[in-house]
Structures are given as structure tokens and as C-alpha cells.
């Protein structure tokens, strides 16, 4: 090997890593600052008034909660019951049975006394064939609509729901999520409190419900998950939602709204054609398109983010399922970024093109790949015997301590703002998780991401995968 060329490559690789790391550190610190400011502002702003007073207002807008269900026969009845007990005056629960192979539909029909209704359906609806629409004959379940359609995936089911809904706003959720009773009030407030900008979408925090005590569809006791993989994910979610999204929300550059709890202005969602059924990252992709649409029609808009814990979900506790999930996320990431590549450093899209997209490109998609390359380089250097151990250890410890510091900061904000894990033991456990995460959990995330990108680049067929739900712990 020509030493000269090899050295030049190594040198420039070094520069790339240096710049990348410095920008990453700076961005993280900036995000922490923005998130702090936003949290304090939010806390002050929402300490006044009683949101429930507006519960029965005649001006309250209609919301349709769309819950796609595929082979959810085991828990569907209970989950729908929980959705029907939300505190809001004007909402509809639309369960879209996405061609389940089990008895999901039969259970719903039996439990809620459903009858097929006649309704004209737009033949141009962009979804698989709709086999029937069911409504309950009982007044107590009047809010429930069940749509039975041929299997087409989550996006397809959500599209059917968006098209069939007649309300101003639609909420796309996972049917197995636990939504707190006052969630819709917060959502409506977020949609309605901006007068100068049109709020096109509202997203919220997703909290980890593993090991929590649930009774009658309500959260009775918040507990730390017993499973270590779930604990790692809990810390990751806390960091991501309390710092990451809070910061992006502050500068109105949020590019993703979680698929488990996302609400949209139906008119805009329809204008962009609903969810893209050709991607597995549909929740991110629709936001990209909605934002682009608003830029194109030159109408002021806002994507709102609610930091209050309104939605609780079960995260995978099985390693294989977890890797599949992250694999899917990275594929979705790549697909979305590729679809909207013309936005990259495009000043036409303002902050979106100049800041959000590049960040997403470098630090959400590229970072795990670079980390993987870095690891390979270390192995290569060791093999070649050219590793500078002192420097290697120093930089590893720097990054490691930064990572722990950032996680500790997230825990600090969790305690300061919501204090949901108030037991000393829980906090200490979370701190231990923060210390262990870079060593055990992060490599898994990197590996899943590399796998997903590999599959996508080499067009290895892969779909959504499946997740076996354990169900919430009953009180």
C-alpha cells in the first residue's frame, strides 16, 4: 500500500470526524438550551387556567381518532373502550380493521353491537377496498365507527380513516396506546391557540408504559420498566422527547410527529394526499409533505408539540423485535430523506431546508453509519498496529462523559418538569442506565441502523415486521 495516499485518506477522515464531533457537541448543547427555555416557558404558560372548563364548548372542533388495527383481537375491545372514555365533547373513534386475519372485527361487532351502515364512499379514496362501515346501535357507543377494509398496511388504513372522517382534525394513533383522558383537550388547545399561523399538525410525547399499572384503561401507577431493554428505551425516549423535540419545537422546525400520537389538520392532510403507502417512515414523510405544501402555498403555519405526557405505549422488550423496529425506522428515514432530497440546503424552505433537513441528514441518518465506520477504523488501526492508545482512550472518555452528561441533563429536566419517577431507587436506576447505555444499548441502535440502510441500499425486501404485545400490567 502506498503510505502517502493512505495517510492523506486517514488525515481527511480525521478532519471529517473532528468537524462532525464538534458540530454534534455544539448542536446538542444548543438543543439543551432551547429545550430548557421552551420547557420553562411552557411550564409558566400552562400554569394558569383550567383546561377542562372548555370541555363542553359549542365551539369545540370535531376530532376523529383513527386507530388502525391488524390482528389485535386479543386487546381490541379493551383498547377501544379506553378510547371511548376520553374527556371531550366532539370526537369520533374510527377503528380501521386493516384486513385482520384474526377475529378483530367479530369481537368489535359483538362487544359494541355494531351494524353495517349504508354510506356513499368516494371511489377515488386512495386506499384498499373498503368492505364496510359499521356503527353501533347503542347510544353509549355512538362515537365509535369501525371501518373494515382489505389489508394494505398502516398507512393505507390511516388514509382510509382520513378520507372517511368528516371532522376538522384527525388523530392517528396506535390502537394499543394508552391515551390520558384529557389528551384531546390539550390537542385542541394546541390547534386553536395560534391565531396568526395555521397549526397543521400536533404531536406529543410518547411515554413508556411497560410495567406500569393500568386499570380500566387508565394509568394507575407509573413504574420503571423491569426489563433492561425497555429501561434503555425509556431513557432514550426521555432524552429525545424532553430535549430533542422540545428544542425543535421551540424553533418550529419539528420534522417528525410520532405515529403513535399525531394529530393533523384534515384539510391539509388530504391536500397532500394523506400518508405515503410506499414508505415505512410514513409518520415523518407526511410532515415533510405537509410542511412543503404550506411553503408552496405560502401560508404561515406551525407544527405544534405538546410536552405533557399524554400517550403511553409499550416498547419492545424482545431484542429481535427491537432491532426490527429500529431497522424499519432507519429505512423510513432514508426513504423520506431521499424523497425530499431537493430540500437539502434549499433556502426556499427556510429553516426547514437550511437547518432541519441537514440535521436530520447528518445526525439522524448519517451519524450511526459514521459511528460504524469509526468502529471499523479502530479495528483496522489495531490490526495494523498504528493505533495511538492514549489519544483513543482520551477521545472515547470525552465522548462517553458527554453522553452521560446529556442523559443526566434529560433526567434532571424530567424531575424538574414532571417528576414521574419520584422514588430514589428509580432515579438511581435511570442514572445507571445512562451510564450503561453508551456501552450496551447504543451499539444495538447503530447496528440496527446499519442493517436497515444495508437492506434499503441493496433492496432487500423487508416490511414492517411484527411486534408481540404483552399488554399492560393490570391493576
Amino acid at each position: 500500500m502506498d503510505n502517502g495516499v493512505f495517510n492523506v485518506v486517514l488525515e481527511y477522515l480525521n478532519i471529517v470526524f473532528l468537524v462532525f464531533s464538534v458540530v454534534l457537541f455544539t448542536l446538542y448543547l444548543f438543543m439543551a438550551y432551547l429545550a430548557t427555555r421552551n420547557s420553562i416557558h411552557y411550564k409558566h404558560k400552562n400554569s394558569f387556567g383550567n383546561i377542562s372548563k372548555t370541555l363542553g364548548s359549542p365551539l369545540a372542533p370535531g376530532i376523529t381518532i383513527i386507530a388502525p388495527a391488524y390482528n389485535e383481537g386479543l386487546t381490541i375491545v379493551e383498547n377501544v373502550r379506553s378510547l371511548l372514555s376520553l374527556q371531550y365533547v366532539n370526537y369520533e373513534v374510527m377503528v380501521v380493521n386493516d384486513g385482520s386475519k384474526d377475529d378483530t372485527l367479530e369481537k368489535l361487532i359483538e362487544a359494541y353491537d355494531l351494524k353495517k351502515i349504508d354510506r356513499d364512499i368516494d371511489p377515488d379514496i386512495k386506499s384498499k377496498t373498503i368492505r364496510g362501515i359499521y356503527k353501533s346501535e347503542q347510544r353509549s357507543f355512538a362515537k365509535l365507527t369501525v371501518v373494515d377494509k382489505a389489508n394494505g398496511g398502516k398507512s393505507d388504513a390511516l388514509n382510509a380513516g382520513i378520507y372517511l372522517s368528516e371532522n376538522k382534525y384527525v388523530g392517528c394513533i396506535d390502537v394499543d396506546c394508552l391515551i390520558v383522558p384529557e389528551a384531546l383537550l390539550h390537542v385542541v388547545k394546541s390547534f386553536y391557540q395560534h391565531s396568526e399561523k395555521r397549526v397543521i399538525a400536533v404531536g406529543g410525547v410518547i411515554r413508556v408504559a411497560n410495567s406500569c399499572k393500568i386499570s380500566g384503561g387508565t394509568l394507575e401507577e407509573i413504574r420503571l420498566p423491569k426489563n433492561w431493554l425497555a429501561k434503555f428505551q425509556l431513557l432514550e425516549y426521555t432524552r429525545s422527547f424532553l430535549l430533542g423535540r422540545m428544542a425543535w419545537g421551540r424553533i418550529d422546525s419539528l420534522l417528525i410527529i410520532s405515529g403513535a400520537f399525531g394529530f393533523f389538520d384534515r384539510e391539509i392532510a388530504l391536500a397532500v394526499g394523506g400518508y405515503d403507502t410506499n414508505t415505512v417512515g410514513e409518520d415523518m414523510e407526511i410532515i415533510f409533505r405537509m410542511r412543503r405544501y404550506m411553503h408552496d402555498i405560502d401560508e404561515p403555519y406551525h407544527v405544534a408539540y405538546i410536552p405533557d405526557p399524554l400517550c403511553w405505549t409499550e416498547v419492545p422488550e424482545d431484542l429481535k423485535i427491537f432491532v426490527n423496529q429500529r431497522d424499519r425506522w432507519s429505512r423510513g428515514n432514508l426513504e423520506t430523506l431521499n424523497t425530499h432530497k431537493d430540500m437539502f440546503f434549499n433556502p426556499k424552505y427556510g429553516r426547514l431546508g437550511m437547518l432541519s433537513y441537514p440535521y436530520w441528514f447528518f445526525y439522524e441518518w448519517l451519524a450511526p453509519l459514521l459511528e460504524f465506520v469509526g468502529l471499523l477504523a479502530i479495528v483496522l488501526f489495531i490490526y495494523l498496529g498504528i493505533i495511538n492508545w492514549e489519544f483513543f482512550i482520551a477521545i472515547t472518555i470525552t465522548i462517553y462523559s458527554f453522553s452521560i452528561m446529556f442523559s443526566f441533563y434529560a433526567i434532571l429536566w424530567e424531575v424538574y418538569s414532571y417528576n414521574q419517577y419520584s422514588k430514589t431507587r428509580d432515579i438511581l436506576t435511570l442514572m445507571l442506565v445512562a451510564i450503561l447505555e453508551p456501552l450496551f444499548f447504543h451499539p444495538l441502535v447503530v447496528w440496527s441502523s446499519v442493517r436497515g440502510n444495508y437492506k434499503k441500499l441493496f433492496k432487500i425486501r423487508s416490511g414492517w415486521g411484527s411486534q408481540v404485545r404483552k399488554g399492560f400490567a393490570k391493576a
Binding site: 486517514l10 480525521n14 365551539l59 472518555i397 443526566f408 432515579i427
Partner: protein
């Protein structure tokens, strides 16, 4: 000095950026230190939060019973209770000198106001002011921090401090949106004219959320008479127009129909939609041409709104327009709406055409054909019957489970007429027993036409209601026997109501509400003698029981005694009375004259005793004054003025020598005012004495009867 190094041992040709290893170590130390710092902060915050919540809950426990004492303290409480009340107030004043306690008390009061109503709520508000907590809130309005100002506004609004209105309304156009929003809410909440002030002066957009909140405040106002919101439809602020439209719709104000119609030309789709909602709700038929004109330039959702409105209030002459929309517009939802509007105006105009199997051909069997021929003549008759103008059909009375609540009055009128006529018929029935009755003559039944109110006249009927318009009453041949009435009721109560699918369902009306009518003369004779007596009795007078007046009179007596300064306490008299006997005797109607005297004697002794203690005893305020500061003393003076009497007057005189000038002056003023009040009370009591005469203390009744017009009573008695 930093040593510069790389991840690999260098042997390169090009110069590369140097990374100082020492810098990395320093950064590691910095991040490690921050970790430790955050670790400390996490537990510091956590402990502080839990300690604070524990502290607050403990203090709350202390304060809550005291507050509830205040809230449920009645105006007519005894003197002792009033003293206790004042004592508590002083205690709390001391307690809230600590800022934490003060804020906790504030929190408690703010929490409580959400759950209380009526008197207790009013007392809570006055308590808030009594403790000068509103002054704290006023002070917050001058803070430079937006959250503090907002907190002040929210507090003053929630505690209904109406004096704050003028100060708060200045913030309506504040540049900070949070302050602005809360100031707007306060303006509307604190003053009934506030909504007008707000809509007149607001320059900023009004968010939908803000509109919801303001409407909620207006809805919760008692006896609120809304202004005519039509005047704000000309506002330059688009949101004011939008909000005014919504308020017009909410309060059913039909005095601005022309302006509402004009707003269909507005450029903003939301305004248009709100106007369409009003037009639909109020049934403004004159607006239909404008609706049709606005259709072309509207967006999809607004178009659907327009079609819906035309479907609701339109007539057959508008169907061509709807057909044209259906033909020309490509959007499925708009097309569907156009069809449904046509069917709303003229049902079954458009029949299903899509996805019909052409192979299904209805063939008629010979028997059916025969029946059809037979029915032809009948059909021609029924056709004549069906040729009723649509207006007449709409005016039919509908009795359905859903809407029966809306015309109870009509039903009452119907019931009344029905029973009257039914009784007449039943009477005739008895007389003409020989006549064979084939059909129940139901022609007496009044033709009840729904009389819509002016508002309802304009408002179109709901589609669902229309389907259930025809009420069919089935009746059968009735024979005059003993159970005639029962049978008749049973038959009449059976009502056939067509359901949505056109099937006939039989329902039974409840006739239990009908009055049980009897022949007065005949029944009277059958009544027991005692009831007849009661009926024949005439009411000679009215019993009035006013214990407070009695108390006042007794007070007046005491005051007289005090005035005379000749109170002698006969302690022996107390000793001589057998209290058990007295109380027993007082309760028994067979009490002897002697016992009565004892009671009178006892009462007078008690009065004398009370007077003596009040004259020679010390005021409870003396004790309070000894321990409290100047401010509290001044507040206590106000309390003395309200509840004090002679002994407080004496006590106030002793304050002449108080070292503090303010106290001396206040004591002088309070003493003068108290003296004035007491004199007035004494003169009132004297007047009452002249007016009130005890008459016929009937032992059996045990209640007091008196008449306020002494002359009238005397003359009446004399006559009797």
C-alpha cells in the same frame, strides 16, 4: 502546553489539524464534573419538590378547617360565634405574615373558588379581600415579568375583584400574548360590559381557543343579557367578525340577518362558513341567492357548507342549481352533498343508481297483478289525500321520543281539550245507552297545529324529524260498557309510528298524567266528616313566626335596662328556680299559671345576668388588642363596628390613651360610629315595642300570633 496527537501514529506528508489530547482530558473532566453537578441537582430538585409538597400539604391541613369555618359562618350567628370569627381572622392575619403561608392561603382560596357556588363563594371572595390578598395581586400587575403579571390578572379574575377591571383592561392589547389573552378573559369576566369593551378595542387576532374560553365565561354568567353582536360584524378585525358571528349564532340574535348575508362575500373562508351556519340556523331564505352566488368562489369545504344550508332551507326552485352543481363539480364530496341536498328538499328525487345489478328484474306474479288492479281505485283516492301542500305536511305535529320535550305546552292544551270533550261524550254515552255506537266520534279532537315561535318559523326542520312527521292514531269500534273509559284510553294510547325504514312500530302513550276527574257534588257527600269540616273551615289569620324579631325585642329590653343604668342582679332568684321544672313546664301545654310566672321570672333573671356580664365584663377585643399589631388593630376596629355593643364602646374609650396616634384616631371614630349605631338600634327597638303586641298566647298552639297594625288589631278585637 497541549500535546497534539492523532488516533494513529503519524507519518504523513500533509499537515493536518492537531487535536490536543490534554484538551480532550480537560473536556472529559468538565463533562464528568457536570455529571456530578447534575446528579446533585437532580436530588436537590427532587428533595425540594417533595419537601415543598409535604410542607404545603401540612399547612393546608392546618388552614383548611379554619377556612371552612369562615365559609360556613352565617350572618345570623350568635355573638360568641362572631367573636370566634374575629379571633380566627386575627389568627390568620398573624399566620399569613409568613409569605409561604400567604401563598398557601391564596392557593387554597383559588382552589376552593372552583368548587364553591352561592353564598359560600361570595364569602370566599370577601375573605380574599379581607386578608388583603387582592393587594398582592394588584402589585403583581406592575411586575416586569410576564408570568407574574399574568398570575396577578388570573388571580384577580378568579377571585372576581371587580375593582381590577379598569386596571386590567389596559392589558387587552399587550404585546405579550399570554398577558393579552388573560387580560381579555378578565375584562369579559369582571364586567358585564366587558365583552363590548373587548370587541371594540382589541387589535390583535383572537385565537379560536380564546373564543372558546370567552364564550365559556359568557355562558356561565348568571342573568347575562348579551349585547347585540351584530354591531361588530363591521369590524376591521377579521377575528372580531368571526367571533361576533359565532356569538350571534349562539345567542340566536336574528337582528343582523342582512349583515350576516353580506358576509357570504367575505374573502375569508372561516367567516363565510360561520355566516352560512347562521343562515342555516336562522333559516334566512332570502340569503339563498347570495349563497348560490358565493358557491363559485368558495373552497371545497365552504361549498359543502353552502350545499348543506341550501338543502336545509331551500325549496324546490333551488333544485336546478343543485343538479347543475352535481353535473359540473368533479369532487365526490361536493357532488354527494348536492344530491343529499336535493333529497332533503324533495325526498326520493334522486334514487340510487350506482352498483345496481341490472340482471335483477322485478317480475309480478298473477295474484299480485290482480291485487294491484283492485287497489287502483283505492290508490286514486289516496292520491287525492296525499295531494297536500308540502307546507301543510311540515306543520303536522310530531310526537317522537326525541322531540316530544319541545312542545309540552301543546300537549297540555291537547290533554285539557281532550279530557273536557271526553267527559262530555262519556256523559252523553250514559244517557244514550240505547243508541248503538259504531265508531267513536273523534271529530271533537282539536286539529293541533304546531305553532312555531318567530325563531322556529325561520328555522328549518331537521331532516330526521321530518321522517317521523305523520302520526297515525288507530282506533277500534267501542261498546259502551262499564270499562268504557279504560278501553278507550288503552286504544287511544296506542300510536303507530313509522320508523326510519318505513316499518310501522306501535308505541303506547302514557295517559297517567291525565287528571282524575270526579263529580264534585256527589263526591263531596261521600267525604268523611272531618275532611268536610276542614274544607269548610275558613282561614282567619296568618301565623307569622319571626324569632329574630323576638330576639331583637329582647335585645331592646336589655338596652333599655342598660340605658337606665339600674341593673340589679338577683343571684338569689337564680338559686330559687328549679331549672328542670321550668324547662319541662315551658314545654307542656298543661303548664300552670304558676309555672308560667316562673318562666317569665327565669327569663328576666337570665336577661339581667347577661346584661350584668356585658356591662361589667370585659370586651373580647381587649385580649386581641393586647397581642396584635397596629394594622390588625385597625382591622379589628371595623369588626367592632359591625358586631360591638356597649362594652366595646367602653373599651374603645380606653383606647384614648393608646400610644399610637392612628389607633387613637380610629378608636375615636369607631366609638362615635358605634355609639350612633347602638342609639339607632335602641330607637328601632322602642318603635317595635310600640308596634308589636302579643295577642292570645294560645297554650295549645305554642306559637306566637301578632299583628303589626296595632290599631287595626285593637279595633278588630273590640268588634269580636
Amino acid at each position: 502546553m497541549f500535546r497534539t496527537e492523532l488516533t494513529y501514529n503519524i507519518f504523513s506528508l500533509l499537515s493536518i489539524p492537531k487535536i490536543h489530547t490534554d484538551l480532550l482530558w480537560d473536556l472529559s473532566v468538565l463533562f464528568g464534573s457536570l455529571c456530578i453537578l447534575y446528579f446533585g441537582f437532580i436530588f436537590f430538585f427532587r428533595n425540594r419538590l417533595s419537601a415543598k409538597s409535604q410542607n404545603i400539604s401540612e399547612r393546608r391541613k392546618q388552614l383548611t378547617p379554619i377556612i371552612s369555618n369562615f365559609l360556613f359562618h352565617g350572618e345570623d350567628a350568635s355573638k360568641e360565634e362572631k367573636y370566634e370569627y374575629v379571633e380566627l381572622k386575627v389568627e390568620i392575619r398573624e399566620f399569613i405574615k409568613d409569605p409561604i403561608n400567604r401563598s398557601i392561603l391564596k392557593e387554597i382560596l383559588l382552589d376552593l373558588q372552583r368548587d364553591l357556588t352561592g353564598d359560600a363563594r361570595r364569602r370566599l371572595f370577601s375573605l380574599y379581600k379581607d386578608f388583603d390578598l387582592h393587594l398582592d395581586a394588584f402589585a403583581k400587575l406592575y411586575s416586569w415579568r410576564w408570568e407574574v403579571v399574568t398570575k396577578g390578572i388570573v388571580e384577580l379574575t378568579q377571585m372576581q375583584v371587580e375593582e381590577a377591571y379598569l386596571q386590567i383592561k389596559k392589558f387587552i392589547n399587550h404585546k405579550k400574548s399570554v398577558i393579552r389573552r388573560h387580560a381579555q378573559i378578565a375584562t369579559v369576566s369582571l364586567n358585564s360590559e366587558g365583552i363590548g369593551q373587548f370587541l371594540d378595542t382589541t387589535r390583535y387576532p383572537i385565537s379560536e381557543w380564546q373564543q372558546i374560553k370567552i364564550l365559556e365565561i359568557l355562558r356561565n354568567k348568571k342573568d347575562y343579557i348579551p349585547p347585540s353582536f351584530g354591531v361588530w360584524l363591521t369590524s376591521k378585525n377579521k377575528d372580531v367578525v368571526l367571533f361576533a358571528l359565532r356569538l350571534i349564532r349562539h345567542y340566536n340574535q336574528t337582528d343582523a340577518n342582512a349583515s350576516v348575508t353580506e358576509l357570504l362575500k367575505h374573502r375569508n373562508e372561516e367567516v363565510k362558513q360561520a355566516a352560512i351556519e347562521c343562515i342555516k340556523e336562522f333559516g334566512i331564505v332570502e340569503a339563498i341567492p347570495t349563497l348560490m352566488a358565493a358557491f363559485k368562489k368558495s373552497k371545497r369545504d365552504t361549498r359543502i357548507f353552502i350545499l348543506d344550508a341550501i338543502g336545509t332551507i331551500g325549496k324546490e326552485e333551488h333544485i336546478p342549481f343543485l343538479l347543475e352543481v352535481h353535473r359540473k363539480i368533479s369532487n365526490f364530496n361536493v357532488k354527494s352533498k348536492a344530491l343529499s341536498a336535493i333529497n332533503s328538499i324533495s325526498p326520493e328525487t334522486v334514487l340510487p343508481l350506482e352498483n345496481l345489478d341490472p340482471e335483477i328484474i322485478v317480475t309480478k306474479r298473477p295474484v299480485e297483478l290482480e291485487n294491484e288492479e283492485k287497489e287502483t281505485t283505492e290508490d286514486s283516492e289516496s292520491l287525492q289525500i296525499n295531494e297536500i301542500p308540502s307546507e301543510t305536511i311540515e306543520d303536522d305535529v310530531v310526537i317522537t321520543e326525541e322531540n316530544s320535550d319541545f312542545f309540552y305546552e301543546d300537549l297540555d292544551v291537547f290533554d285539557y281539550c281532550f279530557m273536557e270533550e271526553l267527559n262530555e261524550i262519556l256523559d252523553n254515552q250514559k244517557i244514550d245507552d240505547t243508541v248503538e255506537v259504531q265508531y267513536l266520534p273523534l271529530d271533537f279532537l282539536p286539529v293541533v297545529v304546531e305553532k312555531p315561535t318567530p325563531m322556529e318559523k325561520k328555522r328549518p326542520e331537521k331532516k330526521s324529524k321530518r321522517k317521523l312527521r305523520k302520526l297515525k292514531v288507530s282506533y277500534e269500534e267501542v261498546h259502551p260498557d262499564e270499562n268504557f273509559r279504560k278501553e278507550l284510553e288503552e286504544i287511544l294510547s296506542r300510536v303507530e309510528v313509522p320508523d326510519v325504514d318505513g316499518n310501522i312500530e306501535t308505541e303506547y302513550l302514557n295517559f297517567n298524567f291525565l287528571p282524575f276527574v270526579i263529580d264534585e257534588d256527589s263526591e263531596k257527600q261521600n267525604l268523611p266528616a272531618i275532611i268536610r269540616q276542614i274544607n269548610e273551615m275558613e282561614v282567619d289569620g296568618v301565623e307569622i313566626v319571626i324569632p329574630s324579631r323576638k330576639e331583637k325585642q329582647q335585645k331592646g329590653d336589655l338596652a333599655n335596662h342598660e340605658e337606665q343604668g339600674s341593673v340589679q342582679v338577683d343571684f338569689d332568684a337564680c338559686a330559687m328556680v328549679n331549672w328542670e321544672d321550668v324547662s319541662y313546664a315551658g314545654e307542656q301545654s298543661e303548664a300552670t299559671e304558676n309555672t308560667k310566672e316562673k318562666v317569665v321570672e327565669t327569663n328576666s333573671v337570665q336577661e339581667q345576668l347577661a346584661t350584668a356580664t356585658s356591662t361589667y365584663g370585659f370586651s373580647i377585643f381587649e385580649e386581641l388588642f393586647r397581642t396584635c399589631d397596629v394594622d390588625s388593630k385597625l382591622i379589628l376596629m371595623n369588626e367592632i363596628l359591625d358586631i360591638g355593643d356597649q362594652k366595646e364602646l367602653m373599651f374603645l374609650k380606653t383606647l384614648d390613651k393608646d400610644p399610637n396616634r392612628k389607633v387613637r384616631e380610629a378608636a375615636g371614630k369607631t366609638a362615635a360610629l358605634l355609639n350612633k349605631r347602638l342609639s339607632k338600634e335602641r330607637s328601632d327597638t322602642k318603635e317595635e315595642e310600640n308596634l308589636v303586641k302579643w295577642v292570645n298566647i294560645d297554650k295549645s298552639k305554642g306559637l306566637l300570633e301578632f299583628d303589626l297594625d296595632i290599631r287595626g288589631v285593637q279595633s278588630e278585637n273590640t268588634k269580636q
